[in-house]
């Protein structure tokens, strides 16, 4: 079985038509489905939050069979994820795509759980601590994308569950939970 680092690739990754956008509707639907599942699976396990269409992305080419996705195909598969609400385009030109294997709402719930687990119901924590602190080590929050984190915090802020404030250093912000 072929692997990409730690990631186990399915057999059909070596199936050449998998890399050609299929024109027949039924076939294409199934193909798009398989791509969506594989992209989400890969991003979740490898903690990939952003896919750049013009950059190298390990899934989009298979040197073993000498096939890679065309730009059109990449955009088609990512657009399908966007339509499902599992991804968002980060710019109008569709050059960067934010992958949401957890929706923003789900990330917000994970944050609440994190605060409870660490006794932070009324505590203060910085963004950097959430992303790279000892408390988040080994959890899904470790290394979370800044954009996603900000969006999840905003949801909780609107519900009055926390307040985001500027910290002492300009590039860091603090979070005060009030659960």
């Amino acid at each position: 079985m072929q692997k990409l680092g730690e990631f186990k690739l399915p057999h059909f990754f070596n199936y050449p038509p998998y890399f050609t956008l299929q024109p027949v509707r039924d076939t294409r639907e199934k193909q798009v489905q398989l791509w969506k599942d594989l992209i989400l699976d890969y991003c979740r396990t490898q903690k990939v939050f952003v896919i750049g269409l013009e950059e190298e992305f390990p899934l989009f080419s298979n040197p073993v069979i000498g096939r890679s996705l065309t730009h059109e195909a990449r955009e088609a598969f990512l657009s399908a994820l966007v339509a499902d609400g599992r991804a968002e385009w980060m710019d109008k030109g569709h050059r960067k795509c934010l992958i949401l294997w957890h929706r923003i709402q789900e990330w917000a719930e994970i944050l609440v759980q994190f605060a409870r687990d660490n006794g932070l119901e009324d505590g203060v924590v910085t963004m950097e601590e959430i992303r790279f602190g000892t408390e988040s080590q080994g959890t899904e929050l470790q290394g979370i994308d800044r954009t996603i984190l900000n969006r999840a915090l905003k949801i909780l802020e609107q519900k009055g569950k926390l307040v985001v404030f500027k910290g002492t250093s300009t590039d860091d912000e603090g979070v005060k939970f009030s659960l």
């Binding site: 186990k8 399915p10 057999h11 059909f12 070596n14 199936y15 050449p16 038509p17 890399f19 050609t20 299929q22 024109p23 027949v24 039924d26 076939t27 199934k30 193909q31 489905q33 398989l34 599942d37 594989l38 699976d41 000498g66 096939r67």
Partner: protein, 446 residues
């Protein structure tokens, strides 16, 4: 029809008359009655109403309209049996009535048509439809006077084979004096034949008119050579190896493609042109269709058909019109347009399912599972032209049987695995099924 003494005419599957050797169609008239207006007649002349009348160099052919049930079938009046053609009377009356042409027919005492009959009957051709009566009469006279049927006298097969195509084998095998041995013998014989006909060839190429007049001889020559090759190959199959067979077949193909003796032309058929052309084409495509596995590209047929016609070439537009008329006749072939716009001629009995089954077998072979097939691979296996094979593959793709792979290596097709893969577990390979077969084929050599 009782008392019908006219000889019947054989019709092809598409409803075209089977012509005699060297017989050429010259004029078509539709909605024609062939009757006898002699009141006190003791000979029961058939009452043939509303049919198609074809004047050939040898005969007058009357073919019933399929729509009219009154009189059916097809009958011939040999020009040889006509003893007199009455000139067309112009009178005030004839301006209003349907034009009529009368001719006298000799009969034997027992009531059969014959050139040396003692009794006679006057038959009348009544033109109910639109048609140039005078032009027909002129051509009728011309053909009757030309006595083309007399030229065939010594031609082999004409007496025993009248009314059927001279296609049966063995006619010419007896006249070969040199015993043929293998291809060398055939080739030597051809060499001799060509030398002996060198003069006629040179004559033929002097100018186009001469060529046209020699065309008939050329066609006869080609047919004769084909028959020789045919008889040669059947008697010596054991002695010849594959290569020899190949050259023979090639030679036969070449000769076969020369050969419509009586092409339907605008001149002869007039308003009936497309209809008759359509029928002739339906008869013609039978052989190429068989050889190509039931489906031929329209462009290929255009080339083959015009090559067989030799001089009376038709335009692509005429061909298309002739093909589209097939829907109206009961012919065994149809014109089919693929989604890509490619047009083909195929047998009515041709089914895509059969082709799909073949393709499926092909793509399930271990090698093909791994590497897919290109249109030219499929063409070799299916025995069709690459363009045709591609159409088959594309329609198999649209049915969900195949899917495509476009890469720098080219355009290839694979068996469709997408439907086989389990969405809930991307890594799951069921023990049985196409996906498992594919996985095994793919991992075996690595």
């Amino acid at each position: 029809m009782s008392g019908n003494f006219l000889p019947p005419v054989q019709l092809t599957a598409s409803g075209r008359p089977v012509l005699q050797r060297n017989e050429i169609e010259c004029f078509y008239l539709s909605s024609v009655d062939l009757i006898s207006e002699d009141e006190p007649t003791n000979i029961p002349f058939p009452n043939l109403k509303s049919g198609l009348l074809i004047l050939t160099s040898h005969r007058l052919l009357w073919i019933s309209d399929s729509s009219s049930s009154e009189s059916t079938g097809a009958f011939a009046v040999p020009l040889a049996a006509i003893s007199h053609i009455f000139s067309h009377k112009k009178s005030i009356k004839s301006m209003f009535a349907s034009p009529r042409i009368r001719f006298q027919l000799s009969l034997t005492p027992d009531g059969r048509v014959s050139g040396h009959g003692l009794r006679s009957v006057v038959a009348t051709i009544v033109l109910r439809g639109k048609g140039d009566c005078d032009a027909f009469l002129a051509k009728f006279w011309e053909n009757w006077r030309a006595r083309a049927w007399e030229d065939d006298g010594p031609a082999p097969g004409s007496s025993s084979n009248s009314g059927s195509a001279p296609a049966s084998s063995g006619i010419y095998s007896s006249d070969g004096t040199v015993r043929m041995v293998g291809v060398a013998g055939i080739l030597r014989k051809e060499q001799e034949m060509w030398e002996s006909t060198d003069k006629s060839l040179q004559d033929a190429f002097q100018d186009l008119n001469a060529l046209m007049s020699k065309a008939k001889e050329m066609v006869m020559l080609a047919e004769k050579m084909r028959q020789k090759l045919l008889s040669g190959s059947t008697s010596q199959t054991n002695a010849s190896n594959d290569e020899e067979m190949g050259t023979k077949e090639e030679m036969q193909d070449w000769l076969l493609s020369v050969g419509i003796i009586s092409p339907v032309t605008k001149e002869s058929a007039g308003a009936m042109y497309h209809q008759q052309l359509s029928r002739q084409l339906a008869d013609f495509v039978k052989v190429p269709l068989e050889r190509a596995g039931g489906m031929v590209n329209l462009i290929d047929i255009y080339c083959l058909f015009n090559r067989a016609r030799g001089t009376e070439l038709i335009s692509p537009d005429d061909l298309l019109q002739a093909c589209s008329l097939w829907e109206k006749f009961d012919v065994p072939v149809v014109l089919r347009k693929f989604d890509s716009g490619v047009m083909v001629i195929q047998n009515k009995s041709h089914s895509d399912e059969e082709v799909f089954t073949k393709i499926k077998v092909l793509v399930m072979k271990p090698d093909t599972l791994r590497a897919g097939i290109s249109a030219s691979d499929a063409a070799r296996t299916l025995g069709v032209a690459p363009a045709m094979a591609k159409e088959h593959l594309l329609s198999a793709e649209s049915k969900g049987l195949l899917c495509r792979d476009i890469s720098p290596d080219g355009f290839r097709f694979y068996i469709n695995l997408f439907t086989e893969i389990d969405r809930d577990d991307l890594h799951l390979v069921k023990d049985h099924g196409i996906y498992a077969t594919w996985v095994r084929a793919n991992h075996a050599p690595q």
